[in-house]
């Protein structure tokens, strides 16, 4: 049996990832990304029926930070053998984590000044766009502002690779227009 471009054919009780084409694996990986990010959104939405917006985001931040340290950082770095303690290594994780920054999801321009200093300019953020349409200024503050889930996540990722790497927001939402960038962050190893 050659590589399957999808699974529209007959059911096979013994099928494995190996039997699928690379293109099919990539489509499936992108589907998993959407499912993962979607699940976070479902929790956030349902929790609003039970607690304040601040409590919802605080809980989201607690869950996300714990899952980063327990699952996502060790699983992804192990799966792809990402090793090192500089900013460039951390950016490799950013590119490859399931809810990470890449085309079609959270898109960014990377200015790698040297291996321990980078500026990322996020040009597309589906989560920000969602809360611009459906949320409140408080949501955007809890998502992107000081102490937000975003900042907590970047801090946790920096710490995992090297406690000396610091994340600093150069520009945060709210945006002045739809053409504006979403946010801009500097990652730098501080002496």
């Amino acid at each position: 049996m050659g590589e399957l471009p999808d699974y529209s054919g007959e059911y096979n009780p013994d099928i494995e990832f190996e039997d699928l084409s690379k293109e099919a694996l990539i489509r499936l990986l992108k589907a998993y990304q959407k499912i993962f990010v979607g699940a976070l959104g479902i929790w956030n939405t349902l929790n609003r029926q039970r607690m304040s917006v601040e409590e919802v985001w605080k809980l989201d931040g607690d869950v996300y930070e714990l899952q980063l340290n327990t699952f996502e950082l060790p699983q992804v770095t192990r799966a792809l053998n990402i090793q090192g303690n500089d900013v460039a290594t951390m950016l490799k994780y950013f590119q490859m984590c399931p809810d990470g920054a890449r085309k079609g999801l959270y898109e960014f321009d990377c200015d790698l000044k040297d291996k321990n200093h980078a500026v990322l300019t996020f040009t597309k953020c589906p989560t920000l766009f969602y809360f611009e349409r459906h949320g409140s200024p408080k949501d955007i503050e809890c998502l992107c502002g000081p102490g937000s889930i975003e900042e907590r996540a970047f801090d946790a990722i920096c710490r995992y690779f090297n406690p000396g790497i610091k994340a600093r927001a150069l520009k945060r939402p709210p945006r002045s227009s739809d053409d504006d960038i979403c946010c801009q962050w500097e990652f730098k190893l501080e002496k």
């Binding site: 999808d6 699974y7 529209s8 007959e10 059911y11 009780p13 013994d14 099928i15 494995e16 990832f17 190996e18 690379k22 293109e23 099919a24 694996l25 990539i26 489509r27 499936l28 990986l29 589907a31 998993y32 990304q33 959407k34 499912i35 993962f36 979607g38 699940a39 976070l40 479902i42 929790w43 349902l46 039970r50 809980l59 607690d62 869950v63 996300y64 714990l66 899952q67 327990t70 699952f71 996502e72 699983q75 992804v76 192990r78 799966a79 792809l80 053998n81 990402i82 090793q83 460039a88 950016l91 490799k92 590119q95 490859m96 399931p98 890449r102 085309k103 990377c110 790698l112 291996k115």
Partner: protein
């Protein structure tokens, strides 16, 4: 540049998923599935501390049955072009959904399957989970409450829900559920039948 078998090399700002080998993508798929189910466990754990077992378990069920399962099925079936309303189609989804068969596997590179599917005919199938990471976690931590939530309050109605989502005539019943008699025992076994 040839296909990368991992990302141990230099950072490349232009690198995308097609630059990796199939083996690397498979490892990343298994990792993605694990953290999807893992974050559910973390979320439920924090909710238990904050609101108690009952409220946390009810909310977790609401998450799965309100939208999460539908999102899971829709995205997986679209990505794999899985179309149909019979038991083989249902099994095709169960083989590739992110929170089930794809993560109940042995270590790389073999990823030995720990969920077995047996299709008696197009209208009758048996699914056996030979080893279940979640059950082994519950057993190690002696967390019977969480085991009952996962197996009886989530998996049981979830498999029934998923079966009906593919075809309202498909019925699902457990043949065997935890607790296990010994570590050599299978974790659970399920029967799917198409009602006349």
């Amino acid at each position: 540049m040839g296909e990368l078998n991992d990302y141990s090399g230099d950072f490349d700002a232009e690198l995308t998923l097609p630059d990796f080998s199939k083996e690397a993508l498979m490892r990343l798929l298994v990792a993605s599935g694990k953290l999807y189910l893992g974050i559910d466990g973390i979320w439920t754990g924090l909710m238990r501390k904050k609101y108690g077992d009952r409220a946390a378990f009810d909310l977790d069920k609401e998450v799965w049955f309100s939208k999460a399962l539908e999102l899971d099925i829709k995205q997986t079936c679209e990505a794999m072009n899985i179309v149909g309303d019979d038991i083989p189609t249902l099994f095709k989804y169960l083989q590739f959904g992110p929170a089930f068969s794809v993560i109940y596997v042995g270590p790389p590179p073999d990823f030995e399957p720990r969920v077995q599917f047996e299709l008696k005919d197009r209208n009758h199938g048996i699914m056996t989970v030979t080893r279940c990471n979640s059950l082994e976690y519950f057993e190690r931590h002696n967390d019977t409450a969480l085991q009952k939530l996962a197996c009886e309050e989530i998996d049981l109605p979830a498999f029934k829900w998923i079966a009906r989502r593919f075809n309202p005539k498909i019925e699902c019943e457990p043949i065997k559920l935890p607790p296990r008699q010994s570590p050599d025992d299978v974790a659970c076994r399920w029967e799917f039948r198409m009602r006349d």
